[in-house]
């Protein structure tokens, strides 16, 4: 195996754009079918009324808000990680950044859709926008939902630009390598990119600035999402730990999402020469760190509640520890802590397969975590007469499933139209051949992280 040269990089990475196999259509139809089902479910929900979902008094948030938090969490895979790696100039980031950033943008788009889906009157969602209306009433800037609007808006704008800017030189590559209609489209997309030192320099400067700006924004986004809960005087919601807890959880699930995406791309786009086991190894270590951090936060949250021994809090506490929600709770702990710590902590298991298994566990576990934050508290607020239990109905299940399909579909389409690995960054990295990478030693791994 030789080190891919410039032309080989071009060929390998542009090939998926130029050649279309039947598998692509199959995937599009497969995932598209789920997405269409989800759209139908959503339209039915608007047409027949919100009641076709399983929500009820007093559990007015459940699957949709879980999905919202979950996807916003997944979005922390990309831009945040990629920005950190960019700032510390970690060389191994180069093949990873784009597929990570794409996750951010798509997950944010899907996540931002859920506040709409969950609205009682989604056709009036624009009332959240700060615009001068004939109603003479502006949005309430004291509402965490408006903070959400601003935070997600900034994050989505920033992430999208953060993804798009480095794509311009790659569009130029595709422009030069294609003919016909494709050539004309990519010529427009390349915005006349040539590659002068000034352009390169300005691009890299811009990426530096954006990376610095996007990190606090990413942290703020999930902190604001956590405020949606911690601002309400609800048992187990009204806590100061939610900000960092949510950010850590978001990065945690984000890394897991990234690992899965990388493994899938490597396998199906045959990018074995670009995405190496060492990438998985490094991200796997990050996953381990985040699993330990997550465990720390959960312990913190639980211990404080337990020690405080407030009657309402303890009702919710026991619901998750040993009553109706206990099976879900302990599944979550297994998936989020036991599984990743074992698989990522033992070097022998820290393989690509190990990473993928742990990541799936974390994805499931983190989804459950959000569900278990939202539903038990809402179902057990202070007055036992108004206690309630929740189970989803088809509308919610279909829409939830559809968003996973939508993520896959968007990813497939993206990989079809944009080089999934940043070509110019890969070239700039002058990647040494795998043969030159010294065997994984502790020293080496630390060096690679540049931390």
């Amino acid at each position: 195996m030789t080190h891919p040269t410039g032309a080989r990089i071009n060929n390998d990475l542009i090939r998926p754009l130029l050649l279309t196999s039947w598998r692509f259509y199959l995937l599009v139809v497969f995932f598209g079918g789920f997405v269409v089902a989800g759209v139908i479910a959503w339209i039915s929900q608007m047409y027949y009324g919100f009641g076709i979902a399983g929500l009820k008094w007093p559990i007015y948030w459940a699957f949709y808000v879980t999905n919202f938090v979950f996807w916003i969490g997944i979005s922390h895979a990309g831009t945040l990680i990629s920005a950190i790696l960019r700032l510390v100039n970690a060389g191994w980031r180069r093949p990873v950044t784009r597929c990570a950033e794409v996750i951010t943008v798509f997950a944010l788009m899907i996540g931002a859709l859920f506040p709409l889906i969950h609205l009682g009157r989604p056709w009036l969602a624009f009332w959240l926008f700060p615009y001068p209306s004939e109603r003479l009433i502006w949005p309430n800037f004291r509402s965490p939902l408006v903070w959400d609007f601003f935070a997600i808006n900034t994050y989505l704008t920033g992430s999208t630009l953060f993804l798009l800017l480095p794509m311009i030189p790659d569009f130029a590559v595709v422009r030069d390598k294609s003919t016909g209609l494709r050539h004309r489209i990519y010529r427009v997309l390349a915005l006349g990119w040539r590659g002068t030192p000034k352009q390169w320099h300005r691009l890299e400067s811009a990426m530096q600035i954006m990376a610095i700006a996007i990190i606090p924004v990413a942290v703020s986004v999930h902190t604001v999402v956590s405020f949606d809960f911690s601002m309400a005087p609800i048992p187990m919601w009204n806590t100061t730990i939610f900000g960092p807890y949510f950010v850590a959880g978001a990065i945690f699930s984000g890394i897991a999402g990234l690992l899965i995406a990388m493994a899938v791309l490597r396998k199906f786009l045959h990018l074995e020469d670009y995405i190496h086991p060492v990438h998985f190894e490094n991200l796997g270590k990050l996953l381990l760190v985040m699993a330990l951090l997550w465990g720390y936060f959960v312990f913190n949250e639980r211990l404080v509640t337990y020690y405080g021994n407030g009657p309402a809090e303890m009702t919710v506490f026991w619901q998750t520890q040993r009553e109706s929600f206990a099976p879900l709770y302990w599944t979550m702990v297994t998936c989020n802590f036991v599984l990743p710590v074992v698989l990522m902590g033992i070097r022998r298991f820290r393989t690509i397969a190990g990473c993928v298994i742990a990541s799936f566990g974390v994805i499931l576990g983190m989804w459950l975590e959000r569900f278990l934050i939202i539903v038990p508290s809402l179902g057990h607020k202070y007055l036992p007469y108004s206690f309630g239990s929740y189970s989803p109905r088809p509308a919610e299940i279909v829409i939830t499933g559809a968003t996973f399909a939508a993520m896959a579909l968007l990813y497939v389409l993206f990989a079809k139209f944009v080089p999934i690995i940043s070509i110019w960054e890969l070239k700039a990295g002058e990647h040494p051949s795998p043969a030159l990478i010294p065997p994984a030693t502790a020293e080496h791994r630390l060096g690679e992280l540049h931390l």
Partner: protein, 168 residues
Amino acid sequence: MKAVYGLYPDGQSAQQAVNRLRAAGLTDRDITVISAQPMEDFEFGRMDDSTWMWWFACLGGLIGMSVGLALSWYTATAWPMNVGGLPTFAWWPKLIILFEMTMLGAILATVITLVVSAIIPRKGQTLYDPEVTDGKILVGVEDPINVSLPAIETALSSPSGARVKRTF
């Protein structure tokens, strides 16, 4: 447009070509270099690297913050509403809006600066060759005025591996 340029297989020969052009009396402003990746390891890759982008970003941030402040101040006071006994203009929640707007301003300013200063093509700067995409480095001169064409061609063709082309 009249232009002459050479294509070079690696950074060293491109650097030589740039050096020869300078020796022939051309300024950096007249020399066009195009590559498929940043060439910051070489001196020519750092041409024209001074930028005000950081300052524009800060300015954008300030503007964003001001917009956020103005928006939240105006909307709160235009129709004061009592909610939950909070003050009409509550600073703590507003800080979130101010922060997000600051960051949005900074990001947009950065991108606008980039697009305006480096990506929108300028008149008379159209020299390009698709071979760059395959790893060649283009060094050339557009519309030479002070220096004669043959002199430029000589300078461009001297490094090894050079391939010189003309456009008219």
